[in-house]
Symmetry: C2
Subunit: 339 residues, 2 copies
Amino acid sequence: MLDERKRMVLRAIIDSYIETAEPVGSRTIARKHDLGVSPATIRNEMADLEDAGYLQQPHVSAGRIPSDKGYRFYVDALMEPYVFPRPQLQQLQQEISNEKVSPERSIYEAARLLAFLTESVSLIVAPSTDQMAFRYLQLVPLEDSSILVTVVLHPGIVKNRIIRTKKDYSAEKVAELSAMLNQKLKGITYRELGPTVFTEVIRDYGEIGRALVELILQGLLEDNGEKIYASGTVNILNQPEFRDLERAKALFETLEQKDYLLSLLSAGTKSSGVQVVIGEEHVSSVLQACSLVTCTYYVGDDVVGTIGVIGPTRMDYAKVMAAVDVVSGALSALLTQEK
Amino acid sequence: MLDERKRMVLRAIIDSYIETAEPVGSRTIARKHDLGVSPATIRNEMADLEDAGYLQQPHVSAGRIPSDKGYRFYVDALMEPYVFPRPQLQQLQQEISNEKVSPERSIYEAARLLAFLTESVSLIVAPSTDQMAFRYLQLVPLEDSSILVTVVLHPGIVKNRIIRTKKDYSAEKVAELSAMLNQKLKGITYRELGPTVFTEVIRDYGEIGRALVELILQGLLEDNGEKIYASGTVNILNQPEFRDLERAKALFETLEQKDYLLSLLSAGTKSSGVQVVIGEEHVSSVLQACSLVTCTYYVGDDVVGTIGVIGPTRMDYAKVMAAVDVVSGALSALLTQEK
DNA sequence: TGTTAGCACTCGCTTGTGGTGAGTGCTAAA
DNA sequence: TTTAGCACTCACCACAAGCGAGTGCTAACA
């Protein structure tokens, strides 16, 4: 479809535009990338590439900039994949797994690292716990009619809640319920949980039982905190496409809408590997000047969450994709290893 | 020091400047606030106020803007305190205490609310746990040489960590240690903890004991997560003083430096009530165009944290101070009540 | 047939200039 | 002590001119 030279020209233009954020002229290409042809020839090629939809011209007397279609082709077939130098790679992996405090903390640090690496905004969806096996469950009666519920899930994630009951229950009864639930649930996931457990609980334990069921259903597992973190939002202001305050503000506001982001990142959950959505490929219009690079991460073989990077369509795809890949890999390794 | 009319003029100027962010001229004052004197008279007063250091002039042909000294006087002696209308007040208090999920969550919600109310950036220092009494402590042996440590503190704050031990310990031994610690610690605060507990633990339990001591010392209590939250950072971009991207970026970057913010908010911990630091009163130069309004919050009678609002020196002090006061009060009530 | 040099043309960006108006300080009169 | 009048300052805006990067087209060349 595109001959070799056209591809080289297109790649040179996109590389240059990614670096400088300035429309690229024929002269620049001829000078920087030694293609052995004159600017005039390149101009002809550029005109063809524009006709074919890969490039566009902001105005007549300016150079060319890539269109979304151009970026898409670049990502799929043109760009040179970025490979982290071995030492840096190891350092990154170490930095993520070093955080021994808690998996949640590691995830947060991973988001920071990803933002730092890509100089963009990173997003991380917290691991969805309903595919994680229960490792331990305990109820502890506290004074004044409260019960502390503690759940430990398989990758070392601990969740707690204190629930209030209307009347006191004997320590024995609570302990019995606790042991029974712990035994029933250990090793299985929330998903695998049949309704039988709950009916049984409600029959035998009444109010606490019901309260507990509600708790688990309603989201001790899911809602105990944020489901999605954004990190590095400041980086937006370093990107020339967001010099315009209104645009920057619009993006900031989009980033505050956690639900929206969540749906965005959850879209590519089925496919594996690094996914890229470019500009107008976004369904919603808010992000049509942005691209999104995502990748899922795992506990064992189960997808539990997604990480991603949002930046202007003029992002350094090679580097961002490499970073997303590495970080998701390291995160999966971490979560899988410390079962 | 300042006669009645000068005070009225100064107040009118500051009120107007807070509202519009535009330098205020003598005409405007004469027209809006009906002082019964002509612009010329006001001009004379303004010249005096400028000489006295309360006002300044961006350039000769512009109106006056308040100086930091002007704001200080305004806050201390001039402004009309803002009082939330009763229904809104009740609604606010309810919104904060409604979040029954966990105290941490409530704190986070309080930060959001405060940012929303003031249309500025809100900061909340997470409650310092070393003045909170232990309510419950438990060690649970998990499989593969791990022990789950759970601590419940008095305002319903739960902390966990999983620690790894080099060898397995019998469930009995762990349970014994758990019970012993729980009994020793219950009701006292980290502060009140003498060294005797620890030496005893180390003598009797060796490695786990030491690991546990380290854990508590090093910060199961302190470091398990962020110590300071910032909310509403987007609001920066709505304020005319941050039209300039460089300035906005500088502030954003300052807000990322958690340690710095922490030291800033911890400064006023001793004094009670709402504190205001205006512009150049800040020691560090980064925030010299900003003011900071802070207030401590409590568990019972103990100060456990600080909340605050950062905005341009041209903030609506009356409203911000009222909001900070209300939110800190509601937060204290919440934390104190659900011991 | 593809490539290249030359050239006229476009148009965004920068710089300079004059006009406008808000606001001041000073002076003199009430 | 207050106020009206007035000359003066200076940021801001609009407009025009000039510059220059980059283009498309044409004609010559390999």
